[in-house]
Symmetry: C2
Subunit: 197 residues, 2 copies
């Protein structure tokens, strides 16, 4: 509409999740009007991240280097391994501050309907790692979805010979959740898993 | 949290309007996981736009070249000039499809309290342009705010000797606006400006 380079930017911005034509335009106008140096910094940060960030060779999370900061951190415990679907899940758990062990990122969940089988995830590699190292507890933190749970059961079967303690995340009412807004499946789980206070 | 280049990208993304820590993280993860080539294209579009887009020397809207596509378009009418505060306003009016004349971007509105006086806007240049060209109608499409209206009154005074017809945008109930959600100032205006049907 305004000018080709502007239109091109507006189109490219829409690759960002949750950004449509309208907010892309607002973003482009904002940067052009008031934040050009910051826009250039953003462009450079983007390009660097897209080109330089790779997968940690140990946990398959994102990393600037061959080994990520979490795998490289000597203060973290090697005796607990937390298996998640994606690097986003690593970040969510890190932000909770509730875990000081290591992670292993599967790269997704089993979903035969989408053609995603055990070979498409890093499951073999996980089992080899469990075979070759002394882990006290394997935490299967896959999603609370049908696929996530199927994936957890599949791994727990394969891992059983090599780990004494295999756990998964508790399911129940989310903090701050009003009962009337919680779905009935979650309520069912929360009732079954009820605990003494 | 994850890795320095990731953290840097998340920080830089927050220059975008409406993007906080949480959505910046979601954007970075989305691009890194599934859209790296598109992320690189976005970076390049951003850098090009920030560095290459300038102000049209005629209307002060954004332009890739010295003269913007609207000023350069020979099919548009020279007899109507629409004065707006910003390039974003040009875009909004263009998208309405209701105007086929030329624009002039002031670069803001008068706001003595913020130290923005006539000299800080392109008002002198506008008056010179009006003096030197035959314009049938000057449309003052500044914002429906105190500052926008003050700016419109200031310009209409200065432009009066050079233009026969000076107008401003109608004020009233927005399309689709439920009366109960319209503020009372707008209702007041809409009642005063009521029209036969
Ligand atoms: Zn790692
Ligand atoms: Zn122009």
């Amino acid at each position: 509409m305004l000018t080709p380079k502007f239109e091109h930017l507006v189109k490219q911005l829409q690759v960002l999740p949750g950004v449509g034509q309208k907010s892309a335009q607002r973003m482009a106008l904002h940067l052009l009007s008031k934040k050009r140096p910051q826009g250039v910094s953003l462009a450079q940060a983007l390009e660097t991240a897209m080109c330089d960030i790779k997968e940690c060779s140990r946990c398959h999370s994102f990393s600037d280097d061959d080994i990520c900061p979490i795998c490289a951190d000597v203060r973290r415990s090697d005796s607990e391994l937390c298996v998640v679907e994606s690097a986003a899940d690593v970040m969510a758990i890190e932000q909770s501050g509730a875990f000081r062990g290591r992670y292993f990122v599967l790269g997704g969940h089993l979903s035969p309907i989408d053609g995603i089988n055990a070979d498409d995830l890093h499951i073999d590699e996980l089992i080899i790692r469990l075979k070759n190292s002394a882990i006290d507890e394997l935490i299967l933190a896959t999603g609370a979805t049908v696929e996530g749970q199927t994936t957890a059961f599949f791994i727990s079967d394969a891992a059983r010979p090599f780990v004494g303690k295999i756990t998964r995340l508790a399911q129940g009412i989310p903090m701050g959740g009003e009962l009337e807004f919680v779905d009935s499946l979650t309520l069912h789980q929360a009732l079954q898993n009820r605990a003494f206070i």
